[in-house]
């Protein structure tokens, strides 16, 4: 892939890279850039480090805002060509540069991050120097922030690929130079990964590579541009779920041997009082409406892709009174597993299969909101863990149906 690079300090080697992917983030990028520099200076003073903005040819002045941020650490700007957008495309440029610089560790932080502190750099990079190949974030998130993670990313990553990475789509990660090379050369690269799928793709590739994985507690909540769970999710939903399904096809030999999930190591304690995240507004009625709107069209596809027992249960749920709506975790697991099986079997129908699952996702999130509305964040978290146990116990359903 072509790219454009500006390296005014002519950096040719680095021990640590902090990468900030962006697309039109001129307003927000100065803050994480400044915090990254402070973190590198405070905690890695004896290391050669560099901050790299990997950008999608932004037109709002992101490049100028990045270079205009005062830092003690040198900076590099790399852009995809005009017209190429996607976080994955940006990270591919980052992987290439990390390998070229011979860096031992790389940290990636989102450009719209408002809660990052210098300590995030320490907590995402230091485990790499303790021989962890991949570092996922552990941060406090509001119970309605990260609904795709809570209902799809985490339960599927855990039950299929066998590692309990709580934030597999975290966006703020660390990885070794060796993992950067693995990412760069990996055969499982496609347009979905190039876009929204890259975060969960990195997590799954790291798991299947067998490198020790650490989850690093960042203390502060992730404060970024949150999304109303009832908002339009189609592009992100399809690319994330499509990435998982495609990874299941690629790594079949790996995950077929998994029966129960395993924990990871944990890093980053002693941060004092943990801040609570700001509330995320949710509109339950909007979720329910999106579920209902997708029923008529969805039924046709669901009849083809779901076993009869699953289709019957979906039909039952569709008829439920919205005030007493309940979308069981076991059903949701079997829906996703059935979707994966159909996806693997039918190349020409993949887009239709992914589209058909969207209304069911809204239904599941609606049910989750009803169930957890009186719950504390801790209680909601326990409910999510119970959901994962149900997914793991439903694994035989997937194993019996998976092609080959």
């Amino acid at each position: 892939m072509e790219f454009y690079e500006e390296n005014p300090d002519k950096v040719s080697q680095a021990d640590i890279v902090v990468g900030i992917p962006s697309y039109n983030e001129a307003r927000f990028i100065p803050y994480p850039t400044q915090q990254a520099s402070l973190g590198l200076v405070q905690f890695f003073r004896n290391y050669k480090s560099v901050i790299i903005n990997v950008d999608n040819h932004s037109t709002d002045g992101t490049r100028e805002a990045f270079f205009g941020t005062e830092t003690e650490v040198p900076k590099i700007y790399i852009s995809t060509p005009e017209g190429i957008v996607g976080k994955g495309a940006n990270l591919r440029n980052l992987f290439r540069k990390v390998v070229e610089l011979g860096a031992k560790a790389c940290v990636v932080v989102d450009a719209d991050l408002r809660s990052i502190t210098p300590r995030w750099i320490k907590n995402l990079a230091e485990p790499v120097f303790q021989d962890f190949g991949f570092v996922a974030p552990l941060y406090v998130r509001h119970k309605y922030d990260g609904t795709i993670t809570n209902s799809i990313g985490y339960p599927l990553t855990r039950s299929v690929f066998g590692r309990r990475v709580r934030q597999p789509i975290g966006g703020d990660v660390g990885f070794s130079g060796e993992m950067a090379k693995v990412f760069l050369e990996h055969p499982l690269w496609n347009p979905m990964v190039e876009s929204y799928g890259v975060d969960i793709w990195m997590t799954i590739v790291a798991i299947c590579q067998g490198v020790p994985i650490c989850q690093s507690f960042l203390g502060r909540p992730k404060i970024h541009k949150t999304r109303d769970p009832a908002s339009e999710v189609a592009p992100a939903f399809k690319e994330i779920l499509g990435t998982v399904f495609t990874a299941m096809m690629h790594f079949t030999d790996y995950w077929r041997k998994i029966r129960w999930s395993r924990p990871t190591a944990i890093f980053g304690f002693g941060l004092g009082e943990v801040e609570l995240p700001p509330p995320v507004e949710v509109k339950p009625q909007a979720l329910y409406e999106r579920f209902r709107q997708g029923l008529a069209q969805g039924m046709e596809t669901w009849k083809e892709i779901f076993p009869q027992e699953v289709f019957s249960k979906v039909s039952e749920v569709a008829e439920m009174d919205p005030r007493r709506f309940d979308f069981p975790s076991d059903l949701w697991a079997k829906i996703l597993f059935s979707g994966a099986v159909s996806y693997a079997r039918s190349e020409s129908e993949r887009d239709r299969i992914l589209d058909s699952l969207i209304p069911l996702y809204y239904g599941r999130v609606y049910s989750y909101v009803l169930r957890t509305q009186e719950m504390s964040m801790q209680q909601a978290e326990e409910y999510i863990e119970e959901q994962c146990t149900v997914f793991e116990e439903a694994r035989p359903f997937l194993d019996e149906r998976w092609p080959g």
């Binding site: 303790q130 552990l138 066998g162 309990r164 709580r166 020790p212 989850q215 507690f217 041997k257 998994i258 029966r259 129960w260 999930s261 395993r262 924990p263 990871t264 190591a265 944990i266 304690f269 801790q378």
Partner: protein, 123 residues
């Protein structure tokens, strides 16, 4: 035959677990505290560790981090009289968390599951 290391500062717990788990066909070794736990594991090479949390002079949750960092894939089951430690973020480095009971059914089931997760089937 899988080898299990029981780490608990209460003698009657160690004895109970040893008798019951040996009856299940496991080889069992015990430790009365967390002293040099990493070294102990290196020497004994257990297939699984059952780790108490509140021990005189030792915090099982902190020991867990040392064990997990050194032995990434070794199954560790936290076993405590208290349910409340389940909410401590450090506990997520354990494979499972079991609340102590005189009925060891849940513990035995959990041990079997943890061993199965690393491809160890009881013979």
């Amino acid at each position: 035959m899988a080898k299990i290391l029981i780490v608990d500062d209460e003698e009657h717990i160690r004895m109970l677990y040893q008798v019951e788990l040996e009856d299940e066909g496991y080889e069992v070794v015990t430790a009365a505290d967390g002293k040099d736990l990493v070294g102990r594991i290196e020497r004994e090479k257990p297939d699984l560790v059952v780790l108490d949390i509140k021990m005189a002079g030792y915090n099982g949750l902190d020991l867990l981090q040392e064990v997990r960092n050194r032995f990434y894939d070794l199954p560790v089951i936290l076993c405590s009289a208290y349910d409340s430690f389940r909410r401590d973020i450090k506990s997520i480095a354990a494979d499972f968390y079991v609340v102590k009971s005189s009925d060891l059914t849940q513990l035995k089931r959990t041990i079997a599951r943890a061993l199965e997760s690393v491809g160890h089937t009881k013979t």
